[in-house]
Amino acid sequence: MKNIFKNKKNTRLIGLFLTVGFVLFLIGCVFIDSVSILQIQEDGTQAPRTKAGSVATFILTGHINCQEDHGDVQFIFSFLAPKSWNVRQNATVTYTTTLATNPEEELKMSVVPESSLPKNGGGRTWGEALMQEYGVGPNVLSDMEWVTFATNDKWAIYNGDKPNYTIYLRTNVGYQNLKAYLGFFVNHTDDGMSTSADHKKVKFSDTPFEVYGGKGLMIDYSTDHFNKVQPLASLQDDYVTFSFNGGVYQNDLISCSEIYFEGIAYDENGEIISEVNEKTDKTLLHRESMFSQVYSLTMWPASFFNVPQGKEIKKIDYVFTNKDRSIIITQSDDDFAINHIPINSEKEPFVFELLCD
């Protein structure tokens, strides 16, 4: 026996055998087969959109190919959605599984509290770990959140089990008009965001989901635009960052040495509070990093527009321009770049509505 280990060739073979065996033992376990974001429309057809204020149902189906034993395990489901949906408060999540005595019965899942951390999340909450690992997926705006749910029941699952499962998330989609890719994630508490991809899977919707007929302009989380505003839900006493995303579509402004912000603030009656079009440090955008073509300006709107006591900004019209105003990037330029809508002689500015849900 000792001679076997003394022989280098044999030692390597044994090492390889043990490694393969170890990997095989760990291989499993959780798969996402499909996600559906389609909703029944008024005309009876199905589409990835719903009316503002209504409850939408999202369905995930998957299966487990278990190659190890687990006792007392809770299955995890996380959902990426715009923060304005307030999924933590508004969503109800149920699931069916062939592991259950009655595979048709919808069983409950509950929100995982912030104090309950994933086993291998390095001290991060589920939401933080998911955001660091997957971000906001194919979306380009970051005002989104991962909300995590766990099965109320604990399950015992054994090597060789191959159960199917279906998860239903029903949530009110709020009143903000928007378009965003939605994210779906599955895992279990024994794994808890380990580095292995075998016990966790993520999938983003193939198309953006749209909320229409609500309030405000359509916020498009899913497509790059010349402009970006953060946070999307802001009032005049927030710090608001306006960004010019100069690298996404062809434009002449990006080659200018200085890029400026020009804006007009309106009150709730549509009357102008003030207009800022000076070309000074106050309105100069700063490049976010050497590696990006994004230029930004963070402001306190109430001070920037010198809002008098008792007045409140409801809307800001703005454009990005160079020092002599010979090049101006507007909403019309964005519409032309993305949707090929012809530009009229009168260009339309970008519009930011100050709303808070």
Binding site: P231, A233, S234, D237, S303
Partner: protein, 150 residues
């Protein structure tokens, strides 16, 4: 004779043992009390994070000073969005373990209570305050550093 010597040595050892086992009475230890945290001074806004992201470099925040005067009044210099808008009076909920800074604006009867952290970072006492001066869904963390009054 030997027996007497042995008895004497044994008795002496016993008394020495008794004396050496006197109870520890360190009056300073018994009287120890947590020190009062003096928050009065001029506090300069050093860093700001918005929804968990540091935005300190995007604006000049350091001009904002919170002056907590020893006489119980406070003043705000170069105002930025904050929990209060006007000057007034300040106090903490517990002088030894301050968890909340309580501000009352002049001509107001309402207290504004702000959650407070008061750690020492890099050898300097800092105040960390969490607030939402605009939309409630946006959370800001203001970190103030005490500056010397020279």
């Amino acid at each position: 004779m030997k027996s007497k010597i042995l008895k004497t040595v044994t008795l002496l050892s016993f008394f020495t043992f008794l004396i050496s086992c006197d109870a520890f009475t360190d009056s300073e230890f018994n009287d120890y009390k947590e020190s009062v945290k003096d928050l009065s001074g001029v506090w300069q806004l050093k860093t700001v994070s918005r929804n968990g992201i540091d935005i300190s470099s995007t604006m000049n925040f350091s001009q904002f000073h919170l002056n907590l005067n020893p006489n119980g009044s406070y003043t705000l210099e170069n105002y930025l969005p904050f929990a209060v808008k006007d000057n007034g009076e300040w106090r903490v909920d517990d002088p030894q373990y301050p968890y909340n800074l309580i501000l009352r604006e002049n001509n107001s009867s309402e207290d504004i209570t702000i959650g407070l952290k008061y750690p020492i970072v890099n050898g300097k006492r800092i105040i960390s305050i969490t607030l939402s001066p605009g939309c409630q869904s946006n959370t800001y963390v203001y970190v103030f550093e005490k500056i010397d009054n020279n």
